[in-house]
Amino acid sequence: MQKRKYLLKIRRSRKTYILIYIMMLVIIFALGYVYYLGYGINKIALIAAGIFVIGAFKFTEIHRFKDWWAISAGGLVQSTGIFDKNVREIAFSSISDLDVDQPFFKRILGYGDVNVRLFLNETSIKIININRPERFIEKLQEIMNTRREGKNDVRRIP
């Protein structure tokens, strides 16, 4: 099966996991500090720390790759899950409005959520924790406007 081409494909920002990354660094720093003090690092502690750091890193990467959103020539695509995959495609004509949800912490770090609401009273699409959500909305609106104007010369966005 030929791989489908999208105009824009996005995933969660790694900034979402900043607290987990800080925890991983604290664990590594704690091991380094114990070593610096001249104490021998216990094997169990080393294994536990290794499992936590590697496990946390794997978890964040798998969690990040689990969901993605894309803008295709026909509409907005949402894919969730790895094993139980759920792909939903919404035509541009069904989209009523877009809004950005950015609490203070996310605003500082430059990421946030985008709510894509629909004309029909059904579940909206929530694009979670993406980098620069305003820019994504601008791009989506630009493509939607082009499509609505009936132009078919939509080009791939770098």
């Binding site: 169990i44 579940t123 909206s124």
Partner: protein, 230 residues
């Protein structure tokens, strides 16, 4: 149904987020706890550098006990090993064969890690300023410390730590005898905790001999509880 209510109820991302974050945080605290708990309560000798030692606050003792499994890290002014097995030693990457049945190794200005139990030396790795192998001195011309490592599981006759060897804590299950002044305490599988020990250690004939000062001595066992400090 209002939009927000409908949206929140049907959004899979809203569910279980707090539980997952809480679980990760609990795991994080558990790993940190394991690191510090195992560092503080490690049995045997732990961390051998004393930051402050005041003779006025110390008690003079001597002891003759069994040998705990011991790991020493840090700097040691003088360690003497009487090795009884034919093994190899690496000094600055060069192999030196210890081919005699009894080899006397004196390490001066050693910094690194030593691990031994009552039978053998399991690890010796670090840097040394000067080394005497059966009385022959070896040192670096540039007065730079040399890398040294020994094969694992080397049998020994004795190990001695001289020149007021400092150990911050000795915590082990011991059997033997501790002398405090004129008093003598017999030990039989009792927990022995010596804090800030400074003196000479000799490991010989499957016994650990210590002579020096400690800031506190705690002995806990069946029907026995002794706590000595000045």
């Amino acid at each position: 149904m209002m939009y927000e209510e409908y949206h929140n109820k049907n959004n899979p991302h809203k569910r279980n987020h707090f539980g997952r974050k809480f679980l990760i945080f609990i795991l994080f605290l558990a790993v940190l706890g394991v690191i510090f708990f195992t560092t503080i309560y490690e049995g045997g000798f732990t961390g051998n550098s004393i930051k402050e030692f005041n003779e006025n606050n110390s008690v003079k003792i001597s002891s003759e006990t069994n040998i705990p499994s011991t790991t020493l890290t840090g700097e040691h002014s003088k360690i003497t090993f009487d090795i009884s097995s034919n093994k190899e030693m690496k000094l600055e990457g060069k192999k030196i064969s210890l081919d005699k049945t009894s080899n006397l190794l004196v390490l001066e200005g050693f910094s690194g890690e030593v691990n031994f139990d009552e039978n053998s030396i399991n690890l010796l790795s670090g840097k040394v300023s000067k080394i005497y192998i059966n009385g022959v001195p070896i040192s670096n011309e540039k007065d730079v410390k040399m890398k040294i490592s020994l094969d694992a599981d080397i049998l020994y006759n004795s190990i001695s730590f001289k020149n007021n060897f400092p150990v911050s804590e000795i915590n082990f299950i011991c059997s033997g005898k501790v002398n405090v002044g004129t008093d003598s305490i017999n030990l039989n599988q009792d927990t022995c905790i010596l804090k800030n020990a400074l003196g000479e250690f000799l490991v010989k004939d499957k016994k650990l001999f210590f002579s020096g000062s400690v800031t506190s001595l705690d002995i806990k066992g069946e029907n026995k509880k002794v706590s000595i400090s000045k």
